[in-house]
């Protein structure tokens, strides 16, 4: 696996991990919480990369993560 692929895989893994841990809230609250967490703690570049990954098909992104990433994109 190239270092770029590993980097992408790690971003997806970390984002999914956040979603999984915040996912026990009501759905809308969970989506908002994941998006807010990414805004509060991830650099703009990491968020952009995640948005780009989602736009490119988002392989590996869990449904809740995808929804939260969509909110980042707007």
């Amino acid at each position: 696996m190239s270092s770029a692929s590993r980097h992408d895989e790690k971003l997806v893994r970390m984002a999914n991990q956040i979603a999984e841990n915040l996912g026990s809230q009501a759905h809308d609250d969970a989506v908002a919480a994941v998006a807010e967490h990414l805004r509060a703690f991830w650099t703009p570049k990491m968020r952009r990369q995640l948005v780009d990954l989602a736009a490119a098909g988002g392989e590996g992104l869990e449904p809740l993560t995808r929804e939260a990433v969509r909110r980042l994109a707007v």
């Binding site: 270092s3 790690k10 970390m14 956040i18 509060a40």
Partner: protein
């Protein structure tokens, strides 16, 4: 400059609010009820002669020197054991008492070597003082009778010697070991004339002694003496400063001869330690003057080049040129910095200021990232601020102590002693830890419950405890109604009451018997004041933050917050972890835990600093390393941290460092990270600078310079020098100026100043308009965030799983005699106790692999392999192995993975799936590390290489 001597009342003044007034030698004196006559006399300045009494210990009444006369009472009672009473009339001096005392002293001196002039205690000997005080001029019994003058010497301990011939068998050492330290390593062996102090029939080094120094401090003669005193003689001046080791932050008197430390003596008025110490703070300070210290700045173009010594100006200019070149070529965000929990608040503050105002980004992080960052996140979410709730003294009021993922007798020994005192008085202890740590069962301490949970199952366990409390009707509803967000509570209660969280349901995950978990939950909820103490066994997991919130939930549900004896209390690893976090070291926060996107806060900083600041969070340490490997992060300034040894997945860390174009390391030594550095700024030890540390109880304590910086500059001055070369205007004349700026910009520090610290000795934040004297206990009437917030804490298993290839779980931790990466303690005689990292393994796991005690074994995970020696112990549970990371050649972090806490990226050090097998060779990484340990540390000067 003078030698600081605290007042010794002989026995402690009682804590009672009821006062009694008595007359001593014609003067009226009022003291708290329960105080002794001796303490009452001392409180008016009258020192009654004594030998077996000291106010660190309970009264003993054996030496018979402190006799007094009390009107209306027969005989001459011992003043140390006689309580002061209302209306009592006491005489401490008259002819009869003088005669009695002189007789007692004659007996002592008749069996004591009269070598005062050459005795190491000369000038600091209570026996000598008492002989003077009673006017002893001759000894009627002579010196020819039976005696102990040929008593043996025990010099086995590296730091102190025991000379039996000088012992007066006052039992102060024995009592100090029992009452102060709680180890019970010493005893009085034999009876009558044959009585002598014994370390259990073996020498001190082989005994249970933990070398805390309490016995040495208590000894009134030269019987127990520091070897440094024997070698150097008595100190002539001292300054009070703060220990540079763990998060207890003990106050010490640095006792000096000129600029040489003679000894470090725990300061009785220090509120974190109240006169106690451990082997590290008390004795392991020799690293500060180690021959390995690098005292000249150094630079090199490539890490394969030898280092070249440079002037400070040249080093600053070179580093600045490199960072400016990198930012010009790769962009503003291509550089960053790591602050240190071993540096002062002031040094940390100027580091993060340099990054935000100088580098123009928020790429600053701190070593708390890899230890207690989940504490910051979790407690802020639940309570509104990122700090423990209590002072250390609070444990004296606890009735049930829930200790999770912490081993304080090794990692926070002075607090452990305080905790053990409370346990000996009847408080109950619940230990949740995969290992049978010492506190589960040690002399006079036995845990009511030990929950030996499997690594990675903390959240399942805390949920199960909460489940029992909710479903069995043990919630403190009055507290929850008054203090907490009710909607959040009800949501949480529904979640936690789900049978999926019951002890029975999670047994397969935790490995803990449901009945034990139910018993522990009931005890915590109903046993009186319940206090939670925790360590890195909580935070260093993929659900570290969730676990912190789970503990906060438990404390709120049981009403255990907002008063003494309760709370949620992180035991911080390094001395200034709390302070480094407080000072704005995290990439998303300014000092005082305010997010960088908060416009009002940012504008306040911008206004004072005269620059525009970034409103977006910067990179965390793992982000920096990932981005370096990816090619976008090229320069880092690392102050007082050794990420190549301490951070997980060593090969990834090294890969990141190797990918950078300018790595600046500021440290005392050429550490592992420095092998990959291009600029080396020599650091200053805690003895060489002024500043403050903030300990785990939010206590801000002064650090005071007792010697000049070996490299000429204190660490804060180095950062300022680099900043100046970068064209960043940061001017301060003294660390107190930096603290003034911190206070101006940080609401919780608003009233903190060096003048305040001189006045109070120390102060716990918040210290501001609302709390002029600081805040020992937080959240008293309301939480910082208003209502306490129950958080949902769903258990999510870690992705790091044991399996057929890696069937064991590795967890890592610390040992008493060594500290963190060992850079300090490995350069002291503490290596006597722990010269190498060992792999602890259960007898079953060892036998099934043919492993014998001391065998070299290969420890292999999915990402790496190292070899180290095995030690077989049933304090491990089958399936779990353990090691420390104090020695770089062990490479414990070569096998730990990049799994991390979901919220903070704190590494999951505590769960790594591994296999262990016998081997007869070291791993390829270890061979490579040995080679680079030499080749990447060469210094181009006469005399050749400097080894780390």
């Amino acid at each position: 400059m003078t030698l600081i001597k605290e007042v010794d009342y002989g026995t402690k003044l009682a804590a009672s609010a009821t006062m009694v007034t008595l007359t001593i030698d014609g003067e009226k004196v009022t003291v708290p009820q329960g105080s002794s006559v001796m303490a009452a006399a001392m409180s008016m300045g009258t020192a009654i002669p004594r030998l077996c009494a000291t106010d660190m210990l309970d009264a003993f009444g054996s030496c018979r020197l402190c006799l007094v006369e009390i009107e209306g009472r027969r005989g001459a009672p011992a003043s140390c054991t006689t309580p002061a009473e209302e209306g009592m009339v006491v005489h401490t001096q008259n002819a009869r008492l003088a005669k009695l005392r002189k007789s007692v002293m004659e007996l002592y001196i008749s069996d004591h070597p009269l070598d005062c002039l050459t005795c190491p205690a000369n000038g600091d000997c209570e026996l000598q003082d008492m002989a003077g005080a009673v006017g002893l001029r001759d000894v009627r019994y002579g010196y020819a009778g039976a005696n102990h003058l040929d008593g043996a010497k025990d010099e086995s301990n590296p730091y102190f010697a025991f000379d039996e011939s000088k012992c007066i068998v006052c039992s102060r050492c024995v009592r100090a070991c029992a009452e102060v330290q709680g180890t019970f390593a010493l005893t009085i062996q034999g009876r009558g004339f044959d009585s002598k102090v014994s370390s259990g029939g073996v020498d001190f080094l082989s005994s249970e002694c933990v070398s805390c120094g309490a016995c040495v401090q208590a000894c009134p003669t030269a019987s127990l003496t520091e070897k440094s005193i024997i070698e150097m003689g008595q100190p002539e001046h001292s300054k009070v400063t703060t220990c540079a080791y763990c998060g207890v932050g003990c106050s010490f008197k640095a006792e000096m001869q000129g600029e040489r430390v003679v000894r470090m003596v725990p300061y009785k008025d220090g509120k974190a330690n109240e006169g106690h110490s451990c082997v590290k703070g008390r004795f392991a300070y020799g690293y500060a003057t180690s021959k390995d210290r690098i005292t000249s700045p150094m630079i090199r173009a490539a890490i394969t080049d030898p280092w070249r010594e440079a002037s400070w100006e040249e080093a600053f200019a070179h580093a600045a040129r490199e960072f400016q070149r990198i930012q010009a070529k790769y962009g503003r965000d291509s550089v960053g910095a790591i602050t240190s929990s071993r540096c002062t608040n002031e040094e940390v503050f100027v580091m993060q200021k340099l990054v935000r105002a100088g580098f123009g980004n928020n790429n600053v992080d701190t070593c708390a990232r890899v230890c207690h960052s989940p504490t910051g996140y979790g407690l802020k979410m639940a309570f509104g601020t990122s700090a423990g709730t209590q002072d250390f003294k609070s444990v004296e009021k606890a009735d049930v102590i829930l200790l999770i993922g912490a081993n304080p007798t090794d990692a926070h020994p002075v607090f452990a002693s305080r905790m053990k005192r409370r346990l000996r008085k009847g408080a109950k202890l619940i230990v949740a830890d995969p290992r049978r740590i010492d506190l589960v069962k040690s002399p006079h301490v036995r845990a009511a419950c030990h929950l030996p949970l499997l690594p990675g199952s903390n959240v399942a366990m805390i949920n199960a405890l909460a489940h029992v409390i909710v479903t069995e009707g043990l919630v403190n509803e009055a507290f929850v109604r008054e203090r907490c967000d009710l909607a959040a509570f009800e949501n949480w209660a529904r979640f936690i009451a789900d049978p999926v969280n019951s002890p029975e349901a999670v047994e397969a995950i935790t490995g803990v018997a449901p009945a034990d978990m139910r018993a522990a939950a009931r005890l915590f909820a109903t046993g009186g004041n319940g206090a939670i103490y925790y360590g890195l066994g909580v935070t260093e997991h993929s659900q570290g933050s969730t676990m912190v919130m789970g503990m906060a939930n438990l404390a709120m549900a049981t009403g255990n917050l907002g008063r003494e004896g309760v709370g949620v209390n992180p035991l911080r690893g390094q001395n200034n972890v709390q302070g480094a976090c407080d000072m704005g070291s995290f990439p998303h926060e300014f000092s005082g835990y305010r997010h960088v996107s908060d416009d009002a806060t940012r504008e306040m900083f911008e206004s004072l600093w005269g620059v525009t600041l970034d409103r977006e969070p910067g990179m965390r340490i793992p982000n920096m390393l990932d981005e370096a490997v990816a090619g976008g992060f090229k320069g880092i300034y690392v102050q007082g941290e050794d990420i190549a040894q301490s951070d997980p997945d060593t090969q990834h860390v090294v890969g990141g460092l190797e990918a950078m174009e300018c790595v600046i390391v500021q440290d005392l030594f050429l550490n592992e990270t420095a092998k990959y550095a291009h600029v080396f700024f020599p650091g200053a030890s805690f003895l060489e600078k002024d500043g403050t540390f903030t300990n785990a109880e939010r206590r801000i304590n002064r650090v005071r310079r007792v010697m000049a910086p070996m490299a000429g500059l204190a660490d804060w001055e180095v950062t300022l020098g680099f900043a100046k070369a970068l064209g960043v205007d940061m001017r301060y004349d003294h660390p107190s100026d930096i603290m003034d700026e911190i206070a101006r910009l940080t609401p919780t520090f608003r009233n903190v100043s060096y003048a305040k610290l001189e006045e109070l000795g120390s102060v716990q934040w918040p210290c501001n308009e609302a709390a002029h004297m600081g805040t020992p206990v937080m959240h008293v009437d309301h939480f910082v965030r208003g209502k306490g917030r129950f958080m949902l804490t769903q258990f999510v298993p870690t992705q790091e799983r044991a399996g057929p290839l890696f069937p064991l779980l590795l967890t890592t931790g610390r040992i008493l005699s060594q500290y963190n990466v060992g850079a300090q303690t490995r350069r002291t005689l503490n290596n006597v106790w722990h010269g190498q990292d060992m792999l602890e393994i259960h007898p079953f796991d060892a036998e099934s692999r043919g492993i014998r005690e001391g065998d070299l074994v290969a420890l292999t995970s999915r990402i790496g392999e190292v070899s180290l020696r095995a030690t077989i112990t049933d304090r491990m549970q089958p399936g779990v192995v353990y090691t420390t990371f104090h020695h770089p050649e062990s490479g414990a972090n070569v096998v730990t993975t990049d799994h991390s806490d979901w919220a903070t990226n704190c590494p999951e050090y505590k769960v790594t799936a591994v296999q262990v097998r016998r081997t007869n060779y070291f791993s390829s990484w270890q061979d490579h590390d040995r080679e680079t340990g030499v080749s990447l540390r060469r210094i181009a000067r006469e005399g050749a290489d400097a080894a780390e």
